[in-house]
């Protein structure tokens, strides 16, 4: 059975979030924790993108070539643009947060000589 694209995308997003939470909570290696956290953010981003998905939809930019088809055609068939704009911002925030976390991990590695969360964070 072929699963609907949107449904498959929602499941993938959920899987990413669950895997991410697992990694962030149970992994001892700080880098793996950060990868898990990135998975959570990516899962949420994928979820938001999927909200804007429209089966058979067209790109939400009103190109001159679309003028002959009329505004009504565009409004009925264009994908919902808001989620894509939001995800763009969310990706930037996620990248900044991850950069800061990795920077802190570098400092902590130099200080403790390890990236084991149990050793670094529980002291």
């Amino acid at each position: 059975m072929i699963i609907d694209t949107q449904l498959a995308s929602f499941f993938t997003a959920a899987a990413l979030i669950v895997l991410g939470i697992y990694g962030a909570v149970f992994m001892d290696n700080l880098i793996k924790k950060v990868i898990g956290l990135a998975f959570i953010g990516d899962g949420v981003n994928l979820f938001i993108i999927t909200l804007g998905y429209k089966p058979g939809g067209i790109v939400y930019i009103y190109l001159p070539e679309l003028a002959e088809m009329g505004k009504a055609f565009f409004t009925q068939n264009a994908a919902y643009p808001l989620p894509f704009a939001l995800v763009l911002t969310s990706i930037v925030i996620g990248a900044s947060t991850m950069a800061v976390m990795l920077g802190i991990i570098i400092v902590l590695y130099k200080k403790h000589g390890t990236i084991s969360a149990a050793k670094v964070l529980d002291e």
Binding site: I48, T75, L82, V120, E123
Partner: protein, 497 residues
């Protein structure tokens, strides 16, 4: 449209970026920071109330020129009323919040510039950036915009801890970021679910959609969204289960930094709490959940404060406990309760900043924050000791200070709402708060001075004492004339009910 509304956010951001560029140019950093700092509380006083639509895109109903020629599918639907752009809403409550935040930010920056030999452009940058982010959180009528600034505020808080160069600050910063990197996506997921159900991220439009039957209010997706946004709220404000990390964050910052960080938490808590009540008040469990977590914060925060020996941790936990009072006010769901809760938010931001800076003078003089190693500071600095004592009395809710008025109103609201047991708990916890403060005060100021205690800075900077005096005056003014604050907050509270 009032251009001063976005200026409240743009000015601190611009100033922050300039200060970062000017790092190492001490004199320029000081002058620029002080000028911009003075402007922070002044702009909200000068701005007119109203809405600001970014890009000038007002709802079509307010913009007939743009509406001309649009298909009837748009003009005859709710799209005609919806907000197409990011919107900032500025009314009397926002004015008061931003004024108080600006005052705390200015005084914290003023103190930091005078206590440090070399002004750090990066540290001041973070203070301004955080202030801009929390101002935007208070103003935002767009829940995604709120999320963006929520993240910026979290990053600046981490930056402030790192710049403080306190022992083990990197470890605390990383822990806070790891928890934040779980909580913030959950908040975003909640926002995404709201977007999925209502097709909108504007808070007013979301409420319109729910209230006008455009979506099923009892939809499980909305319930899940409510839960996820509540989770983000708990993290942002430091309510349980995040109370321990939040108080650790305060303790790893310098006193002026901690004074500002707690103000960020208080206003984020109040702003997000108001949004949760605005959107989800119709759900039977929302107010109960808010009360539950607020009570947990009060009990855990205040009792854990009693067990601490580091005075920065003591104030940190007390700050978390005091947040619970705000939450109780919001959770009561009555106009008086919400007004009293928001008034408590204003008071807490001022009093906790006062306490951090007051006790911070001990750290400045001795370099020690462990109360077991301190003592005899009353003799060393009687003027500051009296000011700290007054700050402690204010926090405990002793008249004629401001927290007395807000806590009294909260107790009255709890009786009016048919929840007198909440009033009893508030009174009991206020007593415990007072005991905690007295214990810390005794060990630091009244106990004989340990022989090995060394004074590293003889004189407290005059700026620090001026800052404390200003806080004291604000506490007294709001205590004697509470209507100055409550009149501003009442309109928002009545609107929520």
């Amino acid at each position: 449209m009032n251009p001063l509304i976005p200026i409240m956010v743009i000015l601190p951001i611009t100033c922050a970026l300039l200060l970062n560029l000017l790092h190492n140019k001490d004199k320029t950093v000081k002058i620029l920071a002080l000028i911009a700092g003075v402007a922070l509380p002044l702009i909200p006083l000068l701005a007119n109330y109203g809405m600001h639509y970014f890009g000038g895109y007002a709802p079509l109903i307010d913009n007939p020129t743009l509406a001309q020629g649009l298909p009837s599918t748009i003009t005859n639907s709710s799209l005609y009323l919806f907000h197409p752009a990011i919107t900032y809403s500025f009314a009397s409550a926002q004015q008061l919040f931003i004024f108080v935040l600006g005052m705390v930010a200015f005084l914290a920056i003023f103190t930091s510039l005078n206590e440090t030999k070399r002004a750090s452009g990066v540290y001041t940058f973070l203070m301004f950036m955080g202030t801009a982010a929390v101002t935007a959180i208070v103003l935002a009528d767009d829940i995604f915009n709120l999320y963006v600034f929520f993240e910026i505020a979290a990053l600046t808080q981490v930056g402030i801890i790192i710049c403080s160069k306190v022992e083990n600050n990197y470890e605390t910063a990383l822990k806070y970021m790891i928890l934040g990197s779980i909580a913030a996506p959950m908040l975003l997921l909640g926002i995404a679910l709201l977007l999925g159900v209502t097709g909108n991220v504007n808070i007013t439009d979301i409420i319109f959609a729910i209230n006008h039957g455009m979506v099923d209010p009892q939809s499980p997706v909305l319930l899940l969204a409510c839960g996820l946004i509540l989770f983000g709220w708990l993290y942002g404000s430091g309510l349980p289960p995040f109370h321990t990390i939040k108080s650790a964050v305060y303790s790893k910052a310098l006193p002026h930094g901690a004074a500002l960080l707690q103000a960020f938490s208080v206003f984020t808590f109040a702003a997000l709490g108001v949004i949760i009540i605005r959107i989800f008040a119709y759900l039977p469990f929302t107010e109960t959940v808010v009360i539950f977590f607020s009570l947990a914060a009060m009990i855990l925060g205040i009792t854990m404060a009693l067990m601490q020996t580091d005075f920065k941790r003591i104030i940190g936990f007390l700050a978390v406990g005091e947040l619970g009072y705000i939450g109780l006010g919001l959770g009561m769901g009555t106009a008086l309760g919400i007004t009293a809760g928001l008034f408590q938010a204003v008071n807490e931001a001022i009093i906790t900043a006062f306490l951090f800076i007051g006790f911070g003078t001990v750290l400045y003089k001795t370099g020690i924050s462990d109360t077991n190693k301190l003592g005899g500071m009353l003799v060393e600095n009687p003027k500051v000791a009296i000011l700290v004592l007054l700050a402690g009395l204010a926090m405990a809710g002793v008249p004629p200070f401001n927290a007395f008025q807000s806590k009294l109103q909260l107790i009255q609201a709890s009786i009016n709402a048919g929840l007198p047991e909440l009033g009893i708990i508030m009174v009991l916890l206020s007593i415990v708060t007072f005991l905690t403060f007295v214990k810390a005060y005794y060990t630091i100021y009244l106990k004989p001075k340990p022989q090995d205690l060394q004074i590293i800075n003889e004189k407290i900077p005059r700026a620090t004492i001026i800052t404390m005096m200003v806080f004291l005056v604000i506490c007294l003014v709001l205590g004697l004339f509470p209507q100055l604050a409550t009149d501003s907050l009442q309109q928002l509270a009545v609107g929520l009910v």
